[in-house]
C-alpha cells in the first residue's frame, strides 16, 4: 500500500478530535504508507503536530453543509480522485458514516463501516467489524482497488505520537447546490460533562421502570462528576431523551467506570460501552447477560442497592 487519506474531525473546542488521533494510529500501523489528513475549514493549532505527512484543508465545506453533507461528499470525492489513496479512513461519526458511505458509491470503492481493526493482507487490506449487533465478529478482505472505512471510537489507543506535517489547501472549485436545506437545530440542554467524554457514566435501562428513577442516577452521576446514559429501551419508552442512548446506534463511551442499572446487557448496548475500563452491573437477574460483561456486580433490586451506594460514594468523595 502506498497512500492513505484520513478525514479528520474536530472536538467541541474545534481542535482535532480524539477519534481522529486514534484513526491516525490505525493508519500508521499499516506499514510504508503516506498518510494525509484532510479537514474541513481552517487547520486548528493541533493539526500542525499530527503524526501524518500532510494536512489538507478543505475550505469549501462549511457549517451550512452540516447534516446534508452534499458539499463535503463532493469535495472529498474530488480530493480522492486527484490523490488516489488506496484507503480512506473516517471516524464512525454522523459525518463519517454519511460521507463515507456516499463517497464509496461515488468513487466505486468498497465500504466497511464501524471497523475495529484494519490490517494488511497481501497486496490489499482486511478489516474486522462487529456484526449481528456485536454478537459476532467478521473479517473481510477488501477486493477493490480502494477501501472506504469508518473506524469505531475506542478501537485504537489515543497515542501521543506527533509529527510536523506540511499544511496545504485543496479546492476543487466544485460548489454543489444544496438539495435539501437545514432550517433549524434543536439541541438538548446539557449540564456538566459530555457523555462521550465522561470518566464516569451511570446508565439506566428498562429495569428502572419509569422516568423518575433517572433523578437518582443523575444524583449519582453528579456525585462522581460523570454523566447519565441509558439503554435504547429506556429512551424508546420516553423516560429520557435519545441523546443519552449508549450503544450501537447511540453513543460510544469509554469511561473509567460504567455503571449499568437495570440493563440486561444486549450486544447492541454493549457495543457502545465495552471499551470502558470497568463495567459495574446492578441487576436483579443473576442470569442476565450484563454479568458476563461486567467486572463488578450486585445481583439485586436497584431500589435497595442504589441509596446506600450513593451515600457511601458521597462519604468517600467528601
Amino acid at each position: 500500500m502506498t497512500s492513505i487519506l484520513l478525514v479528520a474531525e474536530r472536538d467541541e473546542q474545534g481542535e482535532i478530535s480524539q477519534s481522529t488521533v486514534q484513526a491516525i494510529a490505525a493508519a500508521n500501523g499499516l506499514v510504508d504508507s503516506v498518510v494525509t489528513a484532510a479537514i474541513a475549514g481552517e487547520a486548528p493549532a493541533s493539526a500542525s503536530a499530527l503524526a501524518v505527512e500532510k494536512v489538507v484543508t478543505l475550505s469549501s465545506i462549511d457549517d451550512a453543509d452540516l447534516g446534508i453533507y452534499d458539499q463535503a461528499t463532493a469535495e472529498i470525492s474530488a480530493l480522492v480522485e486527484s490523490t488516489s489513496p488506496e484507503v480512506v479512513i473516517f471516524s464512525k461519526s454522523d459525518f463519517g458514516s454519511v460521507v463515507g458511505a456516499r463517497l464509496a458509491f461515488r468513487s466505486d470503492s468498497a465500504f466497511a463501516a464501524d471497523c475495529i481493526e484494519i490490517s494488511n493482507a497481501g497486496d490489499g487490506v482486511s478489516v474486522t467489524r462487529p456484526v449481528y449487533g456485536g454478537s459476532a465478529l467478521a473479517e473481510f478482505d477488501i477486493v477493490s482497488s480502494r477501501a472506504i472505512i469508518t473506524l469505531r471510537a475506542g478501537a485504537y489507543e489515543t497515542n501521543t505520537e506527533t509529527g510536523s506535517p506540511s499544511i496545504e489547501a485543496f479546492e476543487s472549485g466544485v460548489n454543489v447546490e444544496q438539495t435539501a436545506s437545514v432550517t433549524g437545530t434543536v439541541a438538548e440542554a446539557r449540564e456538566g460533562v459530555r457523555l462521550e467524554d465522561a470518566n464516569f457514566v451511570v446508565s439506566g435501562g428498562r429495569g428502572l421502570g419509569g422516568p423518575e428513577p433517572f433523578s437518582v442516577l443523575t444524583d449519582l452521576a453528579n456525585a462522581l462528576g460523570g454523566a447519565v446514559g441509558a439503554s435504547r429501551a429506556a429512551c424508546d419508552a420516553g423516560w429520557i431523551d435519545h441523546s443519552h442512548q449508549v450503544g450501537l446506534t447511540g453513543k460510544s463511551v469509554s469511561p473509567d467506570v460504567y455503571i449499568a442499572v437495570g440493563i440486561s446487557g444486549a450486544s447492541q448496548h454493549m457495543a457502545g460501552c465495552s471499551s470502558s475500563r470497568a463495567i459495574v452491573a446492578i441487576n436483579k437477574d443473576a442470569d442476565s447477560n450484563i454479568f458476563k460483561e461486567a467486572r463488578f456486580g450486585i445481583v439485586g433490586d436497584w431500589e435497595k442497592v442504589l441509596p446506600s451506594f450513593l451515600a457511601t460514594v458521597r462519604e468517600l468523595k467528601a
Binding site: 447534516g67 446534508i68 454522523d94 454519511v98 458511505a101 456516499r102 464509496a104 458509491f105 461515488r106 470503492s109 468498497a110 465500504f111 463501516a113 464501524d114 467489524r129 462487529p130 456484526v131 449481528y132 449487533g133 454478537s135 459476532a136 465478529l137 467478521a138 473479517e139 478482505d141 477488501i142 477486493v143 477493490s144 438539495t179 435539501a180 436545506s181 437545514v182 437545530t185 434543536v186 446539557r190 462522581l224 435504547r232 435519545h242 441523546s243 446506534t249 467506570v257 450486544s267 475500563r277 470497568a278 459495574v280 454479568f291 458476563k292 460483561e293 467486572r295 463488578f296 456486580g297 450486585i298 439485586g300 435497595k304 442497592v305 441509596p307 446506600s308 451506594f309 460514594v313 468517600l316
Partner: protein, 266 residues
C-alpha cells in the same frame, strides 16, 4: 395526486434471538438459523413503513410499496408491512441474493426501482440488524442521483417538499427536502404499529409481485463483491465478574462503593 412511496425492507434473523441460541457455522461462515425463531423484517424498516403510514393518517393520498431483495423469503415475516397497511409487496427473489454485499444490493434495488418506479419518496431503514453496515439506503441515493437525508425521526408532506426532523447527537435538525428524495428512518420516529385483524386478513389475500435477477436485466456477474467474508466467529469473553454480596442489598451497595475505592476506580 397520489404520492408513491417505496419502503426498502430486508428480511433478517430476529435480533432478539437469545445469545445462547446465536450460533455460527464456522466452516461456511454463516449464522445457523435458531430453532423456532423465525426471521423478521428489519426493525428500522418497520419504522420506515410506519413513517409512510403516518403520512396517510395525516390525510395524504399515499401508495406504499415495500421492496425487498433476497432469497428464502418467509412470507409470514415479509407480509407484516402489508398487514400494517402497506399496499404492495415487491420481491426480488433469486437464490444467492441472500448473501450479496451492500454494493451489489444497491445495484439490484436500483434496477428494481427503475423497473417498478417512478417514486416520489424512497424510505429505508438506518441500518440492517444483520450486517449493521448502514450503507444501502445512502448508496441508493447516490446511484439514483437523488437528494438524501439520513436519520429522519419525523416526516411531513408539504406540497412539493417534505419537512423533516433529523436526529443529531444532541437533538435534531429541521430540514426541508424536495420530492423525490431518499430518506433513512430511525427508531426515534416511535414504535411501529401492530397489525390489526383486518390488516392481517387483507395481507393474507395479497400476493407479492416477484422479480428474478434476469427480469431486471442483471446476472450474477453484475454482483461481484467488493468485500469478501474471510471469517465469521463469536468472540470469546474471558471476563469474570466479581459479585459483591453484603448482609442485605443495602449493605451490598455500600460494599460496592468501598470495593471500587479499593481498586482506585472512584
Amino acid at each position: 395526486m397520489t404520492v408513491r412511496i417505496v419502503v426498502l425492507a430486508k428480511q433478517v434473523p430476529d435480533p432478539e434471538t437469545p445469545p445462547s441460541q446465536f450460533k455460527i457455522d464456522e466452516s461456511t461462515n454463516t449464522v445457523i438459523p435458531p430453532n423456532g425463531v423465525p426471521p423478521v423484517v428489519n426493525g428500522f424498516d418497520l419504522n420506515a413503513v410506519e413513517a409512510a403510514l403516518l403520512l396517510r393518517d395525516a390525510g395524504a393520498d399515499v401508495e406504499i410499496t415495500v421492496l425487498s431483495v433476497g432469497s428464502d423469503f418467509v412470507m409470514d415475516a415479509m407480509k407484516k408491512p402489508l398487514a400494517m397497511g402497506a399496499d404492495r409487496l415487491v420481491l426480488v427473489d433469486d437464490s444467492g441474493l441472500g448473501n450479496i454485499d451492500s454494493a451489489a444490493t444497491v445495484k439490484v434495488l436500483a434496477a428494481a426501482i427503475e423497473k417498478d418506479g417512478p417514486y416520489d419518496l424512497i424510505l429505508g431503514g438506518r441500518q440492517a440488524s444483520d450486517w449493521d453496515q448502514a450503507h444501502v439506503t445512502l448508496g441508493l441515493a447516490e446511484v439514483l442521483g437523488l437528494p438524501l437525508v439520513s436519520l429522519v425521526q419525523k416526516l411531513e408532506l408539504d406540497g412539493d417538499s417534505v419537512s423533516l426532523q433529523r436526529v443529531i447527537p444532541d437533538g435534531y435538525q429541521t430540514i426541508t427536502a424536495p420530492v423525490p428524495s431518499v430518506l433513512t428512518i430511525t427508531n426515534e420516529l416511535g414504535e411501529s404499529r401492530y397489525p390489526n385483524l383486518r390488516g392481517i386478513m387483507q395481507a393474507s389475500r395479497k400476493k407479492p409481485e416477484v422479480f428474478s435477477l434476469a427480469d431486471l436485466g442483471l446476472s450474477s456477474d453484475d454482483l461481484a463483491p467488493k468485500l469478501e467474508l474471510r471469517k465469521l466467529y463469536i468472540p470469546e469473553s474471558n471476563k469474570q465478574v466479581e459479585l459483591i454480596e453484603g448482609e442485605d442489598e443495602a449493605d451490598s451497595g455500600k460494599k460496592l462503593a468501598l470495593r471500587l475505592r479499593e481498586e482506585k476506580l472512584i
